[in-house]
């Protein structure tokens, strides 16, 4: 393959792409860009057929690779460094720095005598944060952008073999990659002597097996080596000794998908977007109690209010906003006062949360923050690999305490224990999973302490979530007597004449919440104390958990 040949393919493919009606492609969760969005990583998603390499080339695909291979590896690193690109998988470590460290480590050791690769590049597509699905969108919708990014990164750091680690839960992404890799090989864009520059690189897919901790880079390396994914203490860092003891760089899908654009359009173009320390754009997956859910891509530094209200269309069913959960199970819950904080790596960390991979889940007045903390702890406790005691034992203890609280069994000492334990785990756990596992508890304790206190002191769940800790009452002054609740009630325990205030027969109410949801006049209120039936039910059944 030469540049001229690539140009010829592009010219032909462009015409073919324009002639084709792309609306036949499944649009999925990606809607046309909304005002305020800037698409860099998602620019091709939904615009091309991801199973055709020609479509990608038509939109300037692989031209960045051609350009990069005409530069020295150091120049490539320098370009990306000046762009300010930081890792999109969570911690925000500068991407170029990782490559530079690995490159130096390769130079410092003798070339492998057995002909094995001198270094490895791993693309981390183990998108485990529940609530985030940008990597899936990119891998499914534009797989070649990731392959091109990987090849450029490998050239910069000196790797000749790459691994693309994808979750087993994403069968379509795996399928598209399995088509994309042979296509790239056939055109000589992967394999030996790419673009005649004397550079060899190939990519192998590895399918995950369902372990959240494998998103951590050293655990990911263990998993590729065929072992249990247990994080290793650092140093040595993977850049020095990673996969099979060789220098290794682990980069996230979204990070790598940015790389071709940076090379093509230049560091300055990229650095012009975003904030002082967080450059470029970021994809966010908006979900939860918001009108327009889905994937968006916006410049760093946008505020949460713009995302939730301008792009997301505001809260569902005219409810009140309570918190935004960012960063997945290792992130935190941010209340209203953070709505106007510009979002970047630093500001989210300062608020006690995380950028994470960009999941953003909106919670409203009917979400109980104690239960949300319990939910996340249930997740991390389950996913803890079990290697270090602060995480494996600590998360278990935290989960027990939080579960007690949501069952009206919390004590005032529990709050102190929570504070003490979270502090200890954060400072002593081995990896980011353990250290971050406490964030949902810490942030909810900080911003929603009154809810914890209500659970403990009054045995009351003000959001109306925790079973057996509240009941419903119809407010006579608000009830119009429309009768909707009476019709909805599965137990038939709501009484009332048409146009007159209705009433719930409390002892027989099972507190299912159907009336509360159905009422259009906000005439049903959540009050402390269980009904006879709901108390008995809460003791009998437990919410099934994973």
């Amino acid at each position: 393959m030469t540049r001229e040949e690539l140009e010829r393919i592009r010219a032909e493919a462009k015409q073919a792409l324009e002639a084709r009606d792309m609306t036949t492609l499944p649009e999925g969760e990606l809607k046309p860009p909304r005002p305020g969005e800037v698409r860099v990583v998602l620019r091709n998603c939904g615009q091309i057929d991801p199973t055709r390499i020609e479509d990608y080339i038509a939109r300037d695909g692989y031209f960045a690779l051609a350009k990069a291979l005409g530069m020295s590896p150091e120049q490539v690193i320098d370009e990306v460094k000046r762009s300010g690109l930081r890792g999109r998988g969570g911690a925000g470590f500068p991407a170029a720095q990782k490559w530079l460290f690995a490159r130096q480590a390769v130079a410092a050791r003798p070339a492998p005598a057995d002909g094995s690769p001198p270094a490895y590049l791993i693309c981390n597509g183990d998108e485990g944060d529940p609530g985030a699905f940008m990597d899936r969108a990119v891998l499914e919708g534009d797989p070649h952008s990731v392959l091109e990014g990987m090849t450029i990164a490998a050239y910069a750091m000196g790797a000749t073999q790459g691994y693309l680690y994808v979750r087993a839960e994403y069968p379509v992404a795996v399928d598209h990659l399995q088509k994309a890799i042979p296509q790239a090989r056939k055109l000589g864009l992967l394999g030996k002597d790419i673009f005649g520059a004397g550079f060899d690189f190939d990519v192998d897919i590895r399918i995950g097996a369902g372990a959240f901790v494998c998103g951590e880079e050293t655990a990911l390396i263990d998993s590729i080596e065929g072992r249990r994914g247990e994080p290793r203490p650092r140093p040595p860092f993977p850049a020095v000794s990673g996969l099979w003891g060789k220098p290794t760089s682990v980069n996230n899908v979204e990070t790598l998908a940015n790389v071709p654009q940076i090379i093509l359009k230049g560091a300055e173009w990229f650095a012009a977007m975003g904030t002082e320390k967080s450059k470029g754009t970021k994809t966010f997956a908006i979900a939860g109690k918001v009108k327009n859910t889905g994937l968006i891509e916006v410049p760093m530094g946008i505020t949460m209010r713009e995302i939730i209200y301008d792009i997301g269309g505001g809260i569902l069913d005219k409810k009140k906003f309570k918190a935004a959960q960012t960063g997945g199970p290792l992130g935190g819950c941010l209340p209203e006062q953070y709505l106007d904080t510009p979002i970047d790596f630093e500001s989210l960390a300062a608020a006690g949360s995380l950028m994470g991979s960009g999941g953003l889940i909106v919670l409203d007045e009917n979400d109980c923050m104690v239960d949300v903390a319990r939910f996340f702890m249930d997740f991390t406790q389950d996913e803890s690999c079990g290697k270090c005691p602060p995480c494996s034992l600590g998360t278990k203890r935290l989960l027990e305490i939080l579960t007690r609280m949501t069952r009206a069994e919390g004590t005032p000492e529990d709050l102190l224990t929570l504070e003490y334990l979270t502090q200890n785990i954060a400072t002593t756990a081995l990896c980011a999973l353990g250290q971050g596992s406490v964030n949902p508890v810490v942030t909810t304790l900080r911003h929603f302490r009154d809810e914890y206190e209500a659970h403990i002191r009054d045995k009351f769940c003000p959001a109306g979530v925790c079973k057996g800790m509240f009941h419903y009452e119809i407010l006579a002054e608000c009830c119009t007597g429309c009768g909707v609740c009476r019709k909805k009630c599965p137990e038939g325990v709501i009484r009332g004449e048409k146009k007159a205030p209705h009433e719930i027969d409390q002892p027989n109410c099972i507190v299912c919440g159907d009336c509360y949801k159905a009422c259009k006049f906000a005439a049903i209120a959540i009050r402390p104390g269980p009904t006879e039936k709901s108390r008995r039910a809460a003791h009998k059944t437990e919410t099934p958990q994973g």
């Binding site: 609530g131 590895r206 097996a209």
Partner: protein, 156 residues
């Protein structure tokens, strides 16, 4: 349902030979073996350990570490209910309760006729269409409790 290693032995041997050449063969082998046999009982694990020259404890350790691998047989259809954050706040526990009632089994169990097994999973990437349920490789989004019986009936 009794286990028979012989039933797919030829395919198993072939895939092990194929994967053995690459580094880190164990997980890919387990993936494909599970695809062949449906699950990974001890007998199968020990055979794989033998063929890959690994201690049985290593294979057992890996199988039990990763949620995707199962040591128990599963029904013809795997009903996975997502309890990721987005699905949780949009009420997927109600769907799980209903499914559990309809099938008469708890999460992690299979129906006696081996038609379905009920599982809980964590985020299948359909958060924007929560609450979501995945049955085998097809997905059902924005599911309401009243729809689950009808959805189940689509799978024989």
């Amino acid at each position: 349902m009794s286990f028979s290693l012989a039933s797919h032995l030829q395919e198993l041997d072939d895939l092990i030979d194929r994967e053995k050449a690459r580094g880190g063969a164990l997980i890919p082998v387990l993936h494909q073996a599970q695809e062949l046999y449906g699950y990974l009982p001890r007998e199968l694990q020990d055979y794989i350990a033998d063929r890959l020259d690994l201690p049985q404890s290593t294979v057992y350790g890996v199988v039990t570490f990763y949620a995707f691998f199962t040591t128990r047989p599963r029904g013809r259809h795997r009903v996975g209910v997502c309890l990721g954050t987005a699905c949780y706040v949009r009420g997927n526990t109600k769907n799980l309760e209903r499914l559990s009632q309809e099938l008469g089994v708890c999460p992690g169990e299979s129906t006696p006729d081996w038609r379905y097994s009920l599982e809980v999973c964590r985020c299948i990437g359909l958060c924007s269409q929560a609450p979501a349920i995945m049955i085998d490789k097809s997905v059902h989004s924005k599911v309401q409790p009243d729809q689950v019986a009808e959805i189940l009936s689509q799978y024989e």
